[in-house]
């Protein structure tokens, strides 16, 4: 095996093992924050040693052992520090490692870790960072790089997230049956945010950040594997795959945005579409329909259309009607207006958009202007469409999207100028 291959495969293995190892170490030492640091150190040691010395017989056991050694060192120094502070006795019992629960290979705490890292008391950005590190096995440097912040800042963000979890004195166990549904929604939402971060990119001119969407898909696969009967976990994975399938067609050579209607559909990833549709079909059959399954179903209708013109808009409209009832998201209402326009004409769509003007969540949002511009253009009001494309361009915070909206405005203003000239020409001819 070449050096690079071994590097890449052990990297992959490390990320797969990270949550299992962390789960085992937290169970043994009961200190999530410190265990998480110890496991990171063990992962780093493995990343250095394995490509050089070859894989150990039991990579999982090796990592647990190294992490446990780091934990023991840490606890000894903590204990010494505490003793110096003359309060050792009370804590000693609590700190004693309870041996025995070490390497039980069948046991997997990954799901518990997902719930810990996506704790509702954390801000989304903290939950995202902690999930990527503790469950995803990414290093702080990798996460910092993905979000374009300095490593020291990301490191602090992760430490603070762990401190919040510690302060909440949440036990390391699965949530109770009553809490479970709500807590799982938070986990799925965090994965959804990671995917979107990678798909639409929150940084500068680059439209898509592949590593983050890939990580989100990997983690969603993991949740789906742990909870195969949960229809929404399957729905989220399907949504990611059905959206990610269009990645190659979504931007041009200069990273310019290509809207769905203009994409070269031969570049869509058929394998991802098939997998997404199979997952979705199985999920829908379970009969507990939720917003991720509905969004995946909408994505599937687009993915299955041979051309933009052949899109089954009545079906998309029906799906948005259902989605509206399960989701509070104003973007759903905006997309519903587009679907109405595609089925019943732009005037109907514009009426619905007008109703959204008073929604404070959409006030001043560029997407409201962009949709209105598009519908006005469909309705033939080019001058008003131009105004709203320009408004939208001034309000977006994405460079590729701004460029796209300016180009739409330029296309219309060019048309308008030409038309005015043509009309004047006609006038002149008539009068002469």
């Amino acid at each position: 095996m070449s050096r690079e291959l071994l590097d890449a495969s052990s990297d992959h293995l490390l990320r797969e093992l990270a949550p299992q190892v962390l789960g085992a170490v937290v169970r043994r030492f009961h200190d999530f924050a410190a265990a998480e640091d110890a496991v990171q150190e063990a992962l780093l040691a493995a990343a250095m040693q394995w490509p050089r010395d070859g894989l150990p017989d039991s990579p999982r056991g090796w990592l647990i052992q190294v992490a446990a050694r780091r934990m023991t060192d840490y606890l000894r120094s903590e204990e010494a520090r505490r003793r110096r502070e003359t309060e050792a006795a009370a804590e000693a019992a609590h700190l004693a490692p309870d041996a025995g629960v070490v390497t039980e290979p069948g046991h997997d705490d990954t799901l518990t870790l997902f719930f810990m890292c996506c704790h509702p008391s954390l801000t989304p950005s903290s939950a995202i960072a902690l999930t990527l590190r503790a469950v995803g096995g990414l290093t702080t440097a990798e996460i910092a790089h993905a979000f374009l912040v300095p490593e020291a800042t990301m490191s602090q963000r992760i430490s603070r997230a762990k401190a919040s979890i510690k302060a909440s004195s949440l036990p390391f166990q699965l949530p109770t049956a009553q809490e479970r549904a709500q807590r799982l929604r938070t986990v799925l939402h965090v994965l959804y945010l990671i995917f979107n971060e990678g798909y639409t990119s929150s940084a500068g001119a680059q439209l898509q950040r592949l590593e983050l969407s890939g990580e989100a898909i990997r983690l969603a696969r993991s949740v789906h594997a742990l909870l195969p009967d949960d229809a929404e976990a399957a729905g989220l994975l399907a949504l990611m795959l059905l959206t990610d399938a269009r990645r190659a067609a979504r931007s041009g050579p200069d990273e310019e945005l290509i809207p769905l209607t203009k994409q070269d559909r031969t570049r869509w990833d058929r394998a991802e579409i098939s997998e997404g549709i199979a997952l979705l079909t199985a999920a829908l059959a379970k009969g507990s329909i939720g917003p991720y399954q509905l969004q995946a179903a909408i994505a599937a209708v687009h993915d299955e259309a041979p051309s933009a013109e052949q899109t089954d808009w009545p079906q998309i409209l029906a799906l948005y009607d259902l989605l509206k009832r399960t989701s509070e998201n104003p973007m759903v209402l905006l997309n519903h207006a587009i679907a109405e326009a595609m089925v019943h004409g732009p005037v109907k769509g514009l009426e619905l958009v007008a109703e959204l003007d008073s929604d404070p969540r959409l006030a001043g949002h560029h997407r409201l202007d962009a949709v209105r511009a598009h519908l006005l253009e469909m309705a033939g009001d080019r001058a008003a469409a131009l105004t709203h494309y320009r408004l939208a361009a001034g309000r977006t915070t994405s460079v590729p999207e701004r460029n796209y909206l300016i180009a739409q405005a330029a296309r219309l203003s060019g048309d308008t100028a030409n038309k005015v000239q043509a009309t004047r020409g006609a006038d002149l001819t008539e009068h002469s």
């Binding site: 950005s125 800042t153 979107n196 500068g204 949504l239 994405s398």
Partner: protein, 130 residues
């Protein structure tokens, strides 16, 4: 979402700043040091820099041969960037709160300087498209 917080001033503001007492400067430096550390420790700081005085500012344009033509005599009324922070926070409201903290940095006599801080989003994430 990332935001840039920009601290600007006219040539006259910079000249005024250059006449602060040692004590006032030290109080301001201590505030900035603690403020930056707090931003870093709370996991929001992306970068922060202070810039040279306007005396060193030059406007550069390329001449027809592509060589630089510099211009360095500026009207008194022109606003100059004095320094900036880039922060990564959850909402614009949070960015405004942090900007207000910076604006309240101590001025002469320890009184809040209330300097204007311009806050703008750093171009970034497109809206989520299902």
């Amino acid at each position: 979402m990332k935001y840039i917080l920009m601290m600007t001033g006219t040539k006259a503001d910079f000249d005024w700043y250059a006449r602060w007492t040692k004590q006032d400067l030290e109080a301001q430096a201590a505030f900035m040091h603690a403020f930056n550390k707090e931003l870093k420790d709370s996991g929001v700081l992306v970068s922060a820099e202070g810039l040279g005085f306007p005396d060193q500012a030059r406007i550069v344009r390329a001449g027809s041969d592509g060589q630089p033509i510099t211009d360095g005599v500026f009207p008194e009324s022109k606003e100059f960037l004095a320094g900036y922070w880039i922060i990564d926070v959850e909402s614009p409201e949070r960015a405004y709160q942090i900007a207000a903290r910076a604006s309240a940095a101590p001025g002469p006599g320890g009184k809040a300087s209330n300097m204007p801080i311009e806050v703008r989003p750093v171009m970034s994430g497109a809206p989520k498209q299902p």
